[in-house]
Amino acid sequence: MKRLMLAACAALALSSVSAQAVTLRYANQGDLKSLDPYTLNETTTNAHLGQVYEGLTARDQNLKIVPALAESWEVLDGAKRWRFHLRKGVKFHDGTPFTADDVLFSADRVRASGSNFTTRIPEGAKFVKIDDYTVDVQLTSPNPILIAQWDTWYIMSKKWAEAHNTVAPTPASATTPSYASLHEDGTGPFMIESHQPGVKTVFKVNPNWWHKREHNIDEIIFTPIPNAATRVAALLSGEVDVIEPVPVQDIPRVNASSTARVLAGPELRTIFLGYDQSRDELLESNVKGKNPFKDIRVRHAFNIAIDKEAIKRSVMRGLSTPSALMIAPSLFTYSKDFKNPKFDPAAAKKLLADAGYPNGFEVGMDCPNDRYVNDAQICQAVVGMLARIGVKVNLNAQPKAKYFAKVLKPGGYQTSFYLLGWTPGTFDSHNVLFDLHGCRSPGSPRGETNLGGYCNKKVDELTDKILVESDAKKRDLLIKQAFEITTSEYAYVPLHQQALSWGVAKNVDLPQRADNSVMLYWAHKK
């Protein structure tokens, strides 16, 4: 009798567990290609891996820096030395305990060649293990914002990486997957049960997570759905619970449905065009022996030939903010002092003629077609606008996996003209100046995503000053000075800040972070 009761209890317990198991299905327009957290510094990928891996710090729903694997830290010697007290009792998914050795290992790995995150750690920084749960970071120059991007510098297990021969980071241009690109061993709230790139990734809840659980999800099933119409149909039919993004043309329809709604808001991401201004001859152009983009008049012409308002109206359906700067207005005090150059194709044509291209020229353009809101359509519109000043653009719109492998550092910056989006990981102008405007030099993280190779030593000097300036007012003025130089030299063509547009089923609560990171460890599904 006792045994029978026990069996009944067990059966009851089992059934109640299975009845309560909550599965959240999430679809994004882009794929999660590599699980290696140092392959691709891209918000969507970082957000995916942020469910699995953790950094020493994290960011909360309002983007405030909060402790994660580091419980606390001290800034010493005038920000030249930082001491981190690591959290005790944290275990990686494979059961190995997290210690200072893992931090040191991750610091080496993230700086190794092939990593897309070399900007996370300043040049020359030394990591010193004080004891198993204390790490000192010794810097060559003061850095008060050292940890600003450490929420996406994910800590990996030394033991695991060594055991699986995956000590070196997997570059974005890799053609064969590494162990780390197909498996994970993080400390985060979810573990990856299976990963089929381009098809499906299944996340299971980590029962041993050190943090209090703020979600009720037991399983996440992620599928990439590149086709916008299919993605929306999947949300409306209830086949998936969360999609990102909802194409702008479908927002009214989703909001009118009984099953889902759109979470919208201004995004911090700036969408812009860049051009190769460092090579002596463009890789993809009919101009031989010289590089037209080295001529400021050509860059100026490009800046005034593009009608940002028309892109906002027709392609973005009003859901974008045309931008004169490479940073969102809410992140920089003096944004209002910068005005969009007036759209003037006739003047642009004249500038091209003055520069020696009265009949324009031909150039190849790289564009992702599954990364940003209506990215390929924006590129097509740009092709049309440039055609009217005589520039023939050969558009190569491709999935982001191919696109990033071609244009980023590991691929050798193989692009002549491109569209990219950028959210500063620090939510601060320094990141924009350092990563997108810094002079590239081998072995230095400066200018890592400066795909066009813009370079002005004066901007670099200002950038270094901005890093250490602690007076907010003075710092803003320095930033303004730097942006005045970069905009007057037409380093880029800033287009707009896009709008956040997540499709969420009505029975799901999901906080929306302004950096467009879909963090499902805050989700509640009824």
Partner: protein
Amino acid sequence: MTETSKPAAGKGAVARFLESDIYASFRSSPLAMAAAVIVLAMFVGAVLATLIAPYDPFDPAKVFLSDASLPPRWQDGGDPRFFLGTDDQGRDMFSAILYGLQVSLMVGGLGVALAALIGITLGLVAGYVGGRTDALIMRVADVQLTFPAILIALLIDGVVHSVFKGISRETSAIPVLVVSIGLSFWVQYARTVRSSTFVEKGKDYVSAARLVGLPAPVIMWRHVLPNVLGPVLIILTINLGLAVITEATLSFLGVGLPPTEPSLGTLIAIGNQYLFSGEWWIVAFPGATLAILVLSVNLLGDWLRDALNPKLR
């Protein structure tokens, strides 16, 4: 002398065609006639696209974003300049369809021509020579059948882009599509021609040609080929429809033509994104054009099969 005899021969051929059974059967089949009219109209429209189309949708300088997503003329908000409305970039749908039809028919036509050329040649050789050559060619054909056109196109596309680094899609798309369609469709021709050649090879006229001492290639092309061409014509028509659809599929999947130079398939792929948001005309018109074209070509092929089938006469 030749100048006078040529028109006479032409007239004779036309007259002969008008008196033939096939023409009689054509006249008695309203469906076939209607299909022929539609196919002809589409061909003419495609060939003369540059003259007929009110706009040049392939010239990005003449496409204005301010005209984007306008509904057809008869709907609310329609613009009299654009009869069938405009797509998301402001291209006139009617012009885009004509230009797209041109691309689709060209790719389909060239692809089928390439397939027929490969297939007929290999089929003739296999049937005429026989033995090991025959076995080898037919086994290759069997293997070929296991690869669908889409896979072949993806393979060729990948190879082309890794061999010719930096080649633009505008340059590579049409050759890649034609070769992929050619390589995936040749088997049917080869098999048909081979089996007919087997039959023809034993006939007296072939033996006679051999006795005269004609070389094998000449016998194959001049004497055997015209006698095995009937079934080939049928496959040719039906395959044209298939090839156009394959091109559309490949372009829809992004292996084909770039969005700046859309074929019918590319237009459908673009329009598909807007189908649910109310802008139905971007996908509906190119889709209907493709469906009607393929249906008509298939009806013609069907009719031709019946007309050439002695059992049904």
